[in-house]
């Protein structure tokens, strides 16, 4: 199989006069953790939404797992939607279902797994993301911000998707929880060979688990590649983000 999982070419996105993306390109390879970095409002979430078919780019082509999104038919789109798991920036849990039911939903709809096995899976997922098991019986409105993130990750992982989209997975988590998230994602990548696309501002995540990433600024991808190569890029945002005192200190004390 081809090693490119996602290929975005010449993506243009605009709302009326406002241009958010101006011909940007990026490539995500199979089995890597790919980061998307950029300032607030640079259009990261929007780009993610375009990849998962929630928003159509004004022009340009996105290919995911060999499907060209601009002319995908309904059948294939539905098939594609079952192959990925998504963690939204604000969780987007179903408010009328408990956490356990949220996680169970796809398992129930798309597989013939029996109830006992489903429960087993749900419990494992709840525990993996670091939630106490009693949280499974709670409704989203009864959760804290960090718990919502965790529950949403558990839901994204429910079907063991081959492709995982994460929008700021570690924001809103305590530092220890964030690192546990990182190692869980890394472990799943290594064990199951999944591909992860994640939006993140978290330097620790970038230093420790991200294989390659791109930097979104000025409507373009201004740098793409491994940490070493991106840091070399000559752009004010990269400068500001990686060459400030904190980042420098962090880099000295240990990357991967």
């Amino acid at each position: 199989m081809k090693s490119e999982v996602i290929k975005a070419r010449d993506i243009v996105t605009s709302f009326g006069e406002t241009v958010i993306h101006d011909k940007l390109n990026l490539t995500v390879n199979r089995g890597e953790i790919y980061g998307i970095l950029g300032e607030s409002g640079s259009g990261k979430t929007l780009l993610l939404k375009e990849m998962i078919m929630l928003h159509k780019p004004t022009s340009g082509h996105i290919t995911i797992l060999g499907n060209e999104l601009s002319n995908i038919d309904y059948q294939n789109a539905q098939k594609l939607r079952r192959e990925w798991g998504i963690l939204f920036q604000f969780g987007a849990l179903f408010t009328s279902l408990t956490v356990a039911e949220n996680i169970e939903l796809q398992l129930k709809e798309y597989t013939d797994i029996d109830k006992r096995m489903r429960d087993e899976l749900v419990k494992t997922k709840i525990s993996m993301v670091g939630l106490p098991i009693r949280a499974g019986g709670l409704y989203p409105s009864e959760l804290s911000g960090g718990m919502i993130k965790r529950a949403a990750l558990a839901r994204a992982l429910a079907m063991d998707p081959k492709l995982l989209f994460l929008d700021e997975p570690t924001s809103g988590l305590d530092p220890i929880g964030a690192r546990n998230f990182d190692s869980l994602i890394l472990e799943l990548k290594e064990l199951l060979g999944i591909t992860v696309v994640m939006i993140t501002h978290d330097l620790d995540t970038i230093y420790s688990i991200v294989d390659r990433f791109c930097v979104l600024a000025d409507k373009h991808v201004v740098a793409e590649g491994t940490l070493e190569s991106v840091i070399e890029a000559d752009h004010p945002f990269v400068e500001r983000f990686f060459k400030n005192d904190y980042a420098k200190r962090r880099l000295e004390y240990g990357g991967r």
Partner: protein, 368 residues
């Protein structure tokens, strides 16, 4: 790829389970079915060397049966990869035996819950009514607080916006009742009495009711949904913490706007209803519009018109209060917006009709 993913071979001194293919979520039910009917009594060898891919459900399935077989016989697992072993350890570390707590929803539970919550809603509504009344009075002692801009905005949204649908419904109702009665009246040769009949029933009862019902369906539901959504997104909490009392900022402007526009809408509905009745009388009984209006001036006591109009502010108050109250009752899940919106419309239509009945009784008692 082996579609069954599993094969069991019996040898002289042991049994071997050959696992193969994809031990992934879509194959797990099939594998599960095969393993369910299998029980071992001798040495068991579980060979994983032909497994091409796996995921957590596959490994979890293995874990379950491994434990089960282990209690009956010796189990030897061979041919697994490093990754499979690590996955096994990861899942083992997160194996939980506790059950996910579930809320039991028996019959008695729901009876009890509904009883308590109905009582609760009632108390809250009384509380809400009191608060609104106080706020309402306070509004007029501090006229500076009156938010003219919002009031005008809601008058346009709920008043002007409803003109067309109210025109249509009241015209049709005026026409229909006149058509129906025309047939009966013609039997007695009492054609012209159609004017008395239509005039009184439209101005006094029908126009206010139709207007209130349309407005309850149109604006009452909108208020519930708006306020409910604001509740979910915590806009209401944000307002409260910034010192903007939602009663003054959200509810009173809507209430005053509707209390002004509903009587005007009723007047409009009167005219449209009478126009409808006039058309029906002309078509069915040949009464000209000139005759119709002359007769109306003679027989229609102005008090009927005023009674109809006076009902307006009362209906408006009910609709807005119920709509906003239901909106504030929305809890944190999206389903409750739907529930409360339905409840809002049903309640406000019921209370409008009940209030109308009360008017009838009281006015009859007072001889009006």
């Amino acid at each position: 790829m082996n579609p069954t993913c599993i094969k069991i071979e019996y040898y002289s001194n042991h049994t071997t389970i050959y696992a193969s293919g994809d031990w992934t979520i879509h194959n797990v039910p099939k594998i599960d079915r095969v393993l369910k009917g299998f029980s071992c009594h001798r040495r068991l060898v579980w060979d994983f060397s032909a497994v091409s891919s796996f995921d957590s459900s596959g490994i979890l399935l293995f874990m379950g049966y491994h434990d089960k077989f282990l209690s009956h016989c010796r189990v030897e697992v061979v041919g697994y990869t490093k990754a499979q072993e690590r996955m096994f350890r990861l899942l083992l570390a997160h194996k939980v035996d506790d059950l996910i707590p579930k809320v039991e929803r028996g019959l008695f539970y729901s009876i009890g819950k509904n009883t308590v919550s109905s009582y609760d809603v009632f108390v809250k509504f009384v509380n809400f009514t009191g608060y609104i009344m106080v706020a309402f009075l306070r509004y007029f002692t501090h006229p500076k607080n009156i938010r003219i801009k919002e009031i005008v905005y809601y008058m346009e949204r709920s008043g002007v916006g409803a003109l067309f649908i109210i025109a249509l419904t009241s015209f049709l109702v005026g026409m229909v009742i006149s058509y129906q009665s025309a047939v009966e009246l013609a039997k007695f040769g009492a054609d012209i009495f159609i004017v008395d009949l239509a005039g009184i029933s439209i101005t006094r009862e029908l126009a206010p009711l139709i207007t209130a019902i349309v407005v309850a369906g149109r604006s009452g539901s909108a208020y519930t949904a708006q306020i409910g959504a604001m509740k979910i997104t915590e806009e209401i909490s944000a307002m409260r913490t910034m010192g903007f009392d939602p009663y003054y900022f959200l509810i009173l402007p809507r209430m005053i706007a509707l209390m002004i526009s509903l009587p005007l809408l009723i007047f409009f509905a009167d005219m449209m209803g009478i126009a409808g009745s006039m058309l029906a009388s002309y078509l069915e009984l040949g009464i000209s519009s000139h005759q119709f209006l002359n007769r109306m001036q003679e027989v229609l006591d102005i008090k009927h018109f005023w009674i109809g109009i006076v009902k307006g502010p009362f209906f408006a108050m009910l609709i807005v209060m119920i709509g906003c109250f239901r909106g504030l009752q929305v809890t944190d899940d999206t389903e409750s917006i739907g529930y409360q919106t339905t409840a809002s419309v049903v309640n406000s239509i019921f209370f409008v009709i009940a209030c109308d009945a009360l008017f009838s009784i009281l006015l009859t008692k007072w001889g009006l």
